[in-house]
Assembly symmetry: C2
Homo-oligomer: 335 residues x 2
DNA sequence: ACCTGATATGTAATCGGTTGCAAGATGATT
DNA sequence: AATCATCTTGCAACCGATTACATATCAGGT
């Protein structure tokens, strides 16, 4: 028993054909006669041959890999999108490479956007530089996007989402409605803030500065917002808050409950994302549902289409949905 | 402006040296004179040359990639481990490839455990077949493990964890203590169940069948357990439950609260994992903390060491910690 | 002046497949 | 019987780097 990996020439010798034929038997079986195909297959089985991807990729001038650039791998929001991406890429014969833009340096990101490393790129982080990405490999953006980069985008309608949330709160009689933002500069933060403002304006309400709370999507920042909100006079502070992420809404709810107030009696809360857990906390969170797996799936499909050169829509906006649970109620209702 | 990617020979020609020298200037700069190095660098800059990884990998007989086999990418528990893995692999010059063992077929998993695809493997799923993985590429296991596979493992002490949880509940006066398991057959399920049994036995208690609830780590299964538990007579059912995952504990708590009972007044709950959110729900969950990022980091370091041939410990057990929050209290306490 | 060892560079084989081109075989068409 | 299209297969160049080996240069020692 020898320990060398069998190569295509070993298979060829044993099957009594040329390496070209073995290669064809593997990658385009119909170009080879049935008998030869069987002989090659037998030789492959008997040698335990497995082809060398580096060699194939070199010759084919492709890599078989797609890179996903994720802002923060530890965030469950992204893991579900990755799951959608993986479910498409795997069956299509591509590997999914993930890179965390937090831990990777700027230059190593350049390395990823490189034809010899990956055949395509899925960008999930809007903070990256458009110049660094432009004109390198086929790419699509999902969820977030880089302003000024012309690439197909898979995203949700953040303005419509804000309209749903604010409409819901307004319908419940709330008139003092606040908004808790994500980190400044983030494209999602801006569009959700803009949407909130517009939805309020459509109802002849204004979003005053003291009703805008700045967070960063994290649980802790939601907790901090609770502190700010609790410090405002009960007679003038918002009776309802629309959060730009579920995580912040959770942090907020946890903290106000800890301080002895009740949600939704004392304040109504609408989140954003519908991450899995929030349906099961007390009170179950009213929130905007994003089709996360679907976003990932679509992004991957779009990218594959772009790689083979099919024409692709430049922008896809997936629908969001308001999921009404128990963290919102009519204003002033007792109990 | 030509559109062909410059190759190493282009750089060599412009720098007035041979390709061998360019190659050396790139990968072992100290073997090249200062002047030549500068000339090569200038040529690289002027051409915008980037090396072709497929070619390098082919020649070096390596791939520069490490595959992580994850049971379920959408699960936040794993995303944090991946984050730890990525933080080590990136700086070490390796790509992280992730494969979801749910979506990938069994044969495509074989493809991943392949020297031409990856230089190493991190297995996070204990359900895989030992035979399929044995003797292919260097691998380590993290969290879960495949029985019968001789590979370095990074894991936590599940028995000690159960001892901590049960000890805590016992100290609070609980005597009827139940356990909610993960899916049958999972190695973590078994060791946590065994640990629970042992910890109870050490306190002269037995774990009866009706105090063992079978779940599958998911939120929904925790919800289902609530149903079962609520159906048992209040005088004989457990007054405290130790869950094999936080997700199940959350599902359980949500459901019993929904049915009008209170945690911890009516039942004390201990979770497992300490996922980020559970510190912020009501009541904040008492749970076993697993050092997730650290597990990922260690697994990656161990694998890299194994790849370069350093001797590695076969087994690493990381400490767990009981985090006492508000979901547990003395038995029978009112309020 | 000659030898030795270190340093710097070039030559060419090599990694393991893929594929354009050509040739031989087979069957159908006129 | 000659011609042509189709199907199968082999030959050999090629993908773009790395590296063993050979060669050239130069400093220092005797």
């Amino acid at each position: 028993m020898k320990h060398e990996r069998p190569k295509i020439s070993d298979v060829a010798r044993i099957a009594g054909v040329s390496t070209a034929t073995v290669s064809r038997a593997i990658s385009s079986p119909d170009r080879v006669s049935v008998e030869t195909r069987a002989a090659v297959q037998a030789a492959i089985d008997s040698t335990g041959y497995r082809l060398n991807h580096a060699a194939r990729n070199l010759r084919r001038r492709r890599t078989g890999g797609i890179v996903a650039l994720v802002p923060n791998l530890a965030n469950p929001f992204f893991s579900q999108i990755l799951s959608g991406i993986a479910s498409v890429l795997g069956p299509a014969g591509y590997n999914l490479l993930v890179a965390d833009t937090e831990t990777a340096g700027a230059d190593s990101l350049l390395d990823y956007a490189e034809p010899s490393r990956a055949d395509g790129l899925i960008v999930l982080d809007g903070r990256l530089s458009a110049d660094a990405l432009r004109g390198r490999v086929p790419l699509v953006e999902a969820c977030e996007w880089v302003p000024g980069l012309a690439a197909p985008r898979i995203r949700i309608d953040n303005l419509a989402a804000a309209e749903l949330a604010i409409g819901h709160l307004h319908d419940l009689g709330h008139r003092r409605i606040g908004h808790v933002t994500g980190p400044r500069g983030n494209v999602l933060t801006e569009s959700r803030l803009t949407g909130t403002r517009a939805a309020l304006a459509a109802r002849h309400l204004v979003l005053t500065d003291d009703a805008i709370y700045s967070g960063d999507f994290s649980i802790e920042s939601g907790q901090a917002v609770a502190d700010t909100w609790l410090g405002q006079p009960a007679t003038s502070r918002p009776t309802a808050l629309f959060f730009a992420s579920d995580a912040m809404a959770c942090g907020f709810i946890g903290e106000v409950q800890h301080r002895g107030l009740s949600v939704p009696r004392d304040v109504s809360v609408v989140g954003f994302d519908d991450i899995e857990l929030v349906a099961h906390i007390s009170p179950p969170l009213t929130t905007i549902r994003q089709p996360r797996t679907d976003i990932g799936r679509r992004a991957a499909e779009r990218l594959l289409a772009k790689i083979v050169g099919d024409p692709v829509d430049e922008d896809t906006i997936l629908p969001v949905e308001l999921v009404v649970r128990a963290s919102t109620c009519r204003v002033g209702r007792t109990g």
